[in-house]
Symmetry: C2
Subunit: 408 residues, 2 copies
């Protein structure tokens, strides 16, 4: 399984999008920390936001703007290094100032036309004196090359060890369209609505309603099945912008064009999700949890996330220990009514538990499977036909080190 | 704050109870791993068990026995080193064999009169050929001295670094009674009904109904407010035995005697809870989370446990980092409807967040507070009058080390 894109992999950039990243010096030095994405005049957007009650100022402002503008916003301005969360009225004003600056640098006066995102330390005020000039600079540098796009993927990073992005080119009736996206996030990752920051762009044309429907459905099966540490951030936001520049129109939700668009979108989101999981703070392994034969997708997902959220499962995988009892324990804690006698548990292709009892297994083969960079846990509930996947990473001493000294 | 009892602290042992611990060699060598507690003929019991759907065989058997015997059981037999969980029908038979052996060694033939508990690795069958002779040996060694009691507290340990016990002597109308208890548990600790293993004994006299009521009420405010790593074990069990040997009778639930009994019971349980938290796997600090001014105890507890369960809060405290934004984030994730502008957050006596905005604070003073062995997080929700406390420990690299290689 290839997790991250290689340097020379082609990137399929949607037509008509412009990207820019500059160094604002908010917290990090010598690297870009402010990004601007612009889809042009005809762009519509959809977004999903954190369910944390302490939602950050940019989340509150972006949510309002999407409604005020009936989804007709052309892009987003985002910064790393300061989350602008738990910052009260001053924080809300700062977030609006960011949106205002982006709008006026690109369109002149007019209704606010850019969404806004922040990521970084919670409880610190945004240094507007650095952010506003940086937005002006970014606006002047907007461009459509791969290099512009790559700069954006780096500008939104915090504790991420590498940029995360994915893109797909697909066809409907002989005409091509593209979906590309980037995401950041490494700790405080357990999206209950979206994950930290993910920005997607497509040059397909969709109505705001259909775009939202496709996006929510795809996010539910990808970003919302991701956990690093069970902590939902105050700033989680995933957005998609569609500008129609390809001329490909996606029609009603039952159409073939929608199926093609959903497939492309799902591919990009799943790749981003897997990249996010693998780059979880301190991680050395990607853990993919597959739950099959559940009564419903929701129940399968609940069980998969219960396993993915278990510190004990994650440390066992880190220690290459086929301690499947911890997986059973997590299944039992999921809140889903399971019948232990029907549950089977496997790591990779090695069946460890069935019919309510432990199976003898080869410790040697288990060690082989657990030594891979990607470890698959496969659970069957024996209750129905629904499946879900969740993604996470192992829990390591490095996670403790990173988070014992993040702010200082 | 004194967390653990000192060597020469008095232990107030309830009259009429006998204790024994022997070495069965189930998993550990050179230490006791099987314990027997006997309250005598007139004992009644109450217990709370894990809510994990993969409840272990001893949990299922003990739950049945309590009902079958209308709470009239005289004690418990417990082993460490094998959880007898996820072991199917063979596991259930083994658990019943343990209860049968304890009964017949003490009473001869007759209805099963002992409950049964196991703790250790999940998914491994109990070696009855070691356990049954050990029970016989233990029955022959039962005694009422402090040394007997201390041996039991050690026999139930797994990854615990020290035994945990507490006792209280109290008076009702000039007559004394005692409550004593011991507990084990260090990882996979997030009791949703009871914590790993806790055994309490009192020589007060109570009806089974009143005993159960007092016990459940006290456990809800103590053991059920504890978390080490958010994983509810398959074997969680807390039991109390009352034999009436003091001659002190606790009457109806509204009486003064019940208040005195509840106070004594609460004191023992709270001490055990704090000892369990401080001895969490890899812990270097006890974290006490106090949530005040909530709408209800349940909501206060939910918020307190959300904070106590956050890996990010626990690593920050470990790193002596006053990163209160993570506390705000956890409050926001608790599922309780909070109003951020009314929330205040303090670490020790240092107020960090109020009126929706960060307060300036002395980093020096923060470092002082965070360098203590006991760190208090105090949150006010500003919504009502209810309070709750939760207890946990910091999350350290040692936790990863312990759990990356537990089974092997």
């Amino acid at each position: 399984m290839r997790i991250f894109p290689a340097e020379n992999d082609p990137i399929f950039l949607p037509l008509g999008f412009r990207w820019a990243a500059v160094e604002a010096g908010i917290r990090y030095q010598g690297r870009p920390d402010l990004a601007l994405i612009d889809g042009g005049d005809h762009t519509v957007a959809a977004a999903v936001f954190t369910q944390n009650a302490f939602a950050a100022a940019p989340v509150i402002v972006s949510r309002q703007l999407l409604v005020e503008r009936c989804s007709r916003v052309r892009g987003v301005v985002a910064n790393a290094g300061c989350a602008n969360a738990a910052t009260g009225v001053r924080g809300l004003e700062a977030a609006r100032e960011m949106a205002k600056q982006a709008t006026s640098c690109i369109e002149g006066a007019g209704p606010l036309n850019f969404l806004v995102c922040s990521t970084g330390t919670i409880g610190v005020h945004l240094p507007l004196e650095k952010v506003l000039p940086a937005i002006e600079k970014a606006a002047a540098q907007l461009g459509s090359t791969e290099e512009h796009f790559r700069a954006v993927t780096r500008a939104i990073m915090t504790t991420d060890t590498r940029p995360k992005y994915a893109s797909v080119e697909a066809e409907i009736g002989g005409r091509k369209f593209r979906v590309a996206g980037c995401a950041k996030g490494s700790g405080m990752i357990y999206p209950r609505m979206a994950t930290l920051l993910a920005f997607l762009a497509t040059d397909a044309e969709l109505t705001p309603g259909l775009l939202e429907q496709c996006f929510k459905e795809s996010v539910a099966q990808t970003l919302n099945c991701l956990t690093v540490d069970g902590d939902t951030s105050t700033n989680d936001t995933a957005m998609i912008f569609a500008n129609g520049a390809s001329g490909v129109r996606i029609t009603s939700s039952e159409s073939e064009s929608t199926r093609a668009f959903l497939a492309a979108l799902r591919k990009v989101l799943e790749s981003l999700t897997i990249q996010l999981a693998r780059d979880g703070e301190g991680a050395t392994k990607l853990i993919e949890v597959e739950v099959n034969d559940a009564r419903s997708f929701e129940e399968a997902k609940k069980v998969a996330l219960a396993i993915a959220n278990s510190n004990l499962v994650k440390t066992a995988i880190h220690g290459r220990d086929a301690n499947w009892g911890r997986i059973a324990c997590a299944v039992g804690n999921s809140g889903v009514e399971v019948i232990p006698e029907r549950v089977t548990i496997a790591i990779g292709d090695l069946l460890l538990f069935a019919d309510g009892t432990p199976l003898p297994f080869s410790e040697e083969r288990a060690l082989e499977i657990l030594s891979e960079e990607v470890v698959r846990i496969v659970v069957s509930l024996g209750l129905g036909n629904a499946s879900a996947k969740a993604w996470t990473c192992d829990l390591t001493a490095k996670y403790i080190e990173i988070n014992g000294a993040y702010r200082t």
